[in-house]
Each structure stands twice: as C-alpha cells, then as structure tokens.
C-alpha cells in the first residue's frame, strides 16, 4: 500500500449537449472558475494549469497550449507552468496521475485540470470522420471503412462470443446509465429509455444499434488537485487519490490480442494493491463507457460483480439507482454525452462530486470509496484509479 499523496479539492462543470452559442473558451473559463470557487481558492493559488487536448478546433487547442486560460483567469505572473496532457479518453486517469506526481514531487501545490471541447456542434459527418481517425490507422484500417462505431462493434462481437452476453444485456447498460442521467441536469439525454427502445433502434454496425452508440456533445469540466497534506486545509470535502493502475494494450484495435478483456484485470490489481482497497470495499464505479461493452469488460476486470457475469449483473438492475453498485451516476457518455476526451473527465468529476457529497438527487448514501476507470483511442489502454474520502 502506498502513502496517499494527492487529493481533489474542487470541481466545476457546464452542461453537456449542443450549445452552438457557447464557445469552447467560454465553457472552459466557466468550468475553471467554478472549480476554483468550489475549492475556495484564488486563481493565484494555482501554480500549474493542465488543459486537455481539444479535437474540434485546432485554433482553440493552440490557445490551450499557449496559456490562454492563465491570461483569462488572472493567473499571469503567478502560474508557473501551463502544460497540455493528452491521452484521448484515458486523459481523466492519466492527467490525475500526472497531477498527483507533480504535487507529490514538490513541483506543484495546486494543479488546475480542465477539459473543454465542442465536438457536438460539428456537422454529423465531420464528427464521424473525426472519430474515424482517433486510433484508427490511416494506412491499415481507414481504407477498409473502419470507424469508431465499428471499434465498439468489434469488441462487442468478441465479448459476446466469449461471455454469452446478449443484446438485451448490452441495452441494459444504456438503460442503467439513462436512469442516472434522468437525475442529472448537466446530461444531454434525460428522457426515460427502455431495453425495447434500444433494440428497436436502427442497426449501425452489428451488433450495435443507434441507441447502443454514444452521441457527440459540447461540454467542459475541471478539477483541482492539491497535496494530500494541504487538502483538509483547503476544503472540508477532499477526495483522496489512493491508487492508480494501468496498462497499454494496443494502438489499432486490430492488434489487441484479448479484446474481451483488454488490460483491466492487471490495471485493477495494481490499483487495488497500491490503495489497500479491494473490490469488496468499492461502493461506486465511475466507469468510462462510450459503448455498452466497455463497462461490462471493465466490471469483469475489476471483479465488481460478486462473481456474476457483468451483463447479468447490470440487467438485474444492480448498477442503476437503488442497486448495490451505483455505476457512472452522471449517465456516462451514452447519456450525459460524448464530449470527446471530456467524456472521461466528466465521469471522473462525477466521482469527485459523489465523494464530496455534492451530487444532489443522485447522491449515493454513505459513500467512502469509489473507483474510476478510463481508456483512450480505440481502448488502447486500461486505467483504474481508487478514490476515497478517507486518507
């Protein structure tokens, strides 16, 4: 078990969806402002700003790289470093690990981590094409019509083959996430969803139907990481980073040799060992989704289903409101919306929100320990982070 070195002390977020009148810059500024105020800090207490890579606009991303947020938020001549961290959808976990390392090594005191993007406002075909180049090889895969929905479909096909998971069980993941999203004013989709509706929607890439697939959204979220010893002096609700584990399994999905498992078993074993907290003590699973198969693979790898098959566990309602293992209580990318890299940031921020006791009508009662997971590109890597209210 490792010494706890870092904690989240503040969070901010703007609603996800289509907001053509709200620029990425505006969304980033508001999310950062809210995180700084939530922590009770001043902008001049932030010494490192860590913006995530944005995909929809190169111009905006260049602004992020070149310290625009430091200028917009009153950090000039106080911030020491502005540095982009980017590993696609895995950035929630990897950025938290980088921030943890900076504060643990004495290189930073308060790190402001922020994501903003506007992929939801892209024309539909531009969105499809953008995500047909993220982890999809231009030379080896794009010529065959590969795309992100096909990535989810190939993994679903392999996972269903190995585990006998059904289409209804995939749909049950979408329904569980939607039930949480109904309680989340920041979610893009809040109307009730049924398994029948998912299975009646148009087939996109077998076995995935339209409502098995995420929808691109605009959004922004931010959080602040401080040294563990400083955290209780900053806020009354610090969330401690207890342990992280990860494994890179591929770049292109065609090179993964265990697509039904990825690297989650190894990542979870590392995170549980470092944190001293095992699956039996996890009360909330904030799991990166994007397609329903990934939460199932992740639940299996993290051993969170009490020996049951993940598909049966979710279909029995165990991950929905009132279930024994609340999962991705913001609604995930399938219901809060896929804000590009930020879909994972929103899942992580919801984990902090829950552990801070700030989740309102969807607050999980008596919560102490949670786990957050993420993966980037075509699920190139498997990240697991154990978070706790306890030091």
């Amino acid at each position: 078990m490792q010494k706890t070195k870092a904690a989240a002390v503040g969070i901010g977020e703007v609603p996800s969806g289509r907001f053509p009148e709200r620029s990425e810059l505006e969304a980033a500024i508001l999310a950062c402002r809210d995180a700084i105020l939530d922590a009770g800090l001043s902008p001049r207490d932030i010494d490192v700003v860590m913006p995530v890579g944005a995909l929809a606009s190169r111009h905006f991303n260049v602004d992020l790289v070149f310290s625009r947020l430091c200028e917009e938020l009153g950090m000039l001549r106080s911030a020491k470093m502005n540095v982009q961290v980017m590993s696609g959808g895995a950035t929630s976990s990897s950025m938290l690990a980088v921030a943890e390392g900076l504060v643990a090594g004495g290189l930073a005191r308060n790190v402001l981590c922020v994501h903003s993007d506007a992929v939801g406002s892209l024309p539909k075909q531009a969105g499809i094409d953008l995500f047909s180049t993220t982890g999809v090889s231009e030379e080896w895969e794009a010529p065959y019509g590969h795309n992100m929905n096909a990535v989810g479909a190939l993994a679903s096909n392999r996972y269903m083959h190995e585990t006998e998971t059904t289409e209804e069980e995939l749909a049950a993941v979408c329904v569980s996430l939607r039930k949480w999203a109904e309680l989340n004013p920041h979610a893009m989709f809040r109307t009730p969803l049924t398994i029948e509706e998912v299975l009646a929607s148009r087939m996109i890439a077998t076995p995935l139907r339209a409502k098995h697939c995420n929808m691109l959204a605009d959004g922004a979220a931010a959080f602040i990481v401080a040294r563990a010893e400083d955290a209780p002096h900053i806020t009354s609700t610090p969330v401690y980073v207890r342990g992280h584990g990860s494994l890179v399994t591929h770049y292109t999905v065609s090179q993964d040799t265990d697509l039904a498992r990825l690297g989650f078993e190894q990542a979870a074993a590392e995170a549980y060992a470092k944190s001293g907290i095992g699956p039996e003590s996890i009360q909330l699973a904030q799991i990166y989704d994007a397609y329903p198969v990934w939460p199932l693979i992740t639940l299996d790898g993290l051993k969170l289903c009490r020996g049951e098959r993940a598909g049966a566990f979710v279909a029995a309602g165990e991950t929905a409101p009132g279930g024994s293992l609340p999962m991705t209580t913001n609604g995930g990318m399938l219901s809060q919306g896929h804000t590009a890299v930020g879909g994972g940031i929103a899942v992580l921020v919801e984990g902090f929100r829950q552990l801070m006791g700030k989740a309102g009508p969807r607050q999980v009662a008596n919560l102490v320990n949670a786990v957050e997971t993420a993966s980037g590109g075509t699920w190139m890597d498997s990240h697991v982070t154990v978070l706790s209210r306890e030091h």
């Binding site: 075909q125 499809i128 094409d129 047909s132 090889s137 231009e138 030379e139 080896w140 895969e141 794009a142 010529p143 065959y144 019509g145 590969h146 795309n147 929905n149 096909a150 479909a153 190939l154 993994a155 096909n157 392999r158 083959h161 148009r202 087939m203 996109i204 890439a205 077998t206 076995p207 995935l208 339209a210 697939c213 292109t252 999905v253 065609s254 090179q255 040799t257 697509l259």
Partner: protein, 142 residues
Amino acid sequence: MTATARPLPVPSAWSAGYWQAAAERRFVVQECKSCDKAIMYPKRVCPHCLGENLGWRVSAGRGEIYAVTAQLAGPPTGFADHLPYVIAVIRLDEGVQLMSNIVGDGALGARIGDRVVVDFEEVEGTVLPVFRLDAGAETRDA
C-alpha cells in the same frame, strides 16, 4: 482525392513492399531476419528485437476471424456507396492480426472462428488485400 473519395493507403518507406506485393496480387507478411518473428503491421524496426534486418515472407493468406462487424449505417466519408460492408479482425496462421473486409459469398453472415483466405480488390488503382470465407476449410471441418 476529392472530399467524398474513399481513403486509400499511403505507403511508408518500410511498408511499400507490402503494397507492391498486393499490387501483384501476392500477400506477404513482414519478417525479422534476426529473430525470425512475423510482424504485422510492417514496422521500421522489429518490435521484438529492435533490429533492422527486415524482409518479407510469402503468406498463404489464411487465418480465422477474431472479431467481425457488418457496417449497415453511419459509415465514414467515402463508404456510403459501399454499405453494407463487413469489417473483421483476422488472425493469420502466422500468428499476427490485421484488419480487412470480408467480401464475397456469405460475407454478411461471417462469424468468429470462420476460416478465411486472402483475395485482392482493386480500388481506384490501389490493390487492397481483402478476405473471403474459405469454403474449402468449411468442407474439411465438416
């Protein structure tokens, strides 16, 4: 290339041999002459020993489907006229994997474990290795 054109491979210095072979309707797999390992996709250095003594191994282009999907809607630019089409991850008998399309008889019903064999499809002057269900293998299995 127009905005609606299907994307085609742009070979690198170290992958040109693969595409040249395909243009001649031969299927090859890169090999490391130092450690004798098969390599897919072609690499600049061997990912096993980091050596540079790389060449090409003629392959029968046979293997089995590891994962498969039929794309029915929402394709990337350049593929709207090709729907439905089948994308598969194929595990070659050489032990390496690649992505391709399954074409020909029964392609839409292709399943994990089905034996496949390479074929070639010309797209706007570029020859792409694609795969067909290997009817001979099915007969042998039965």
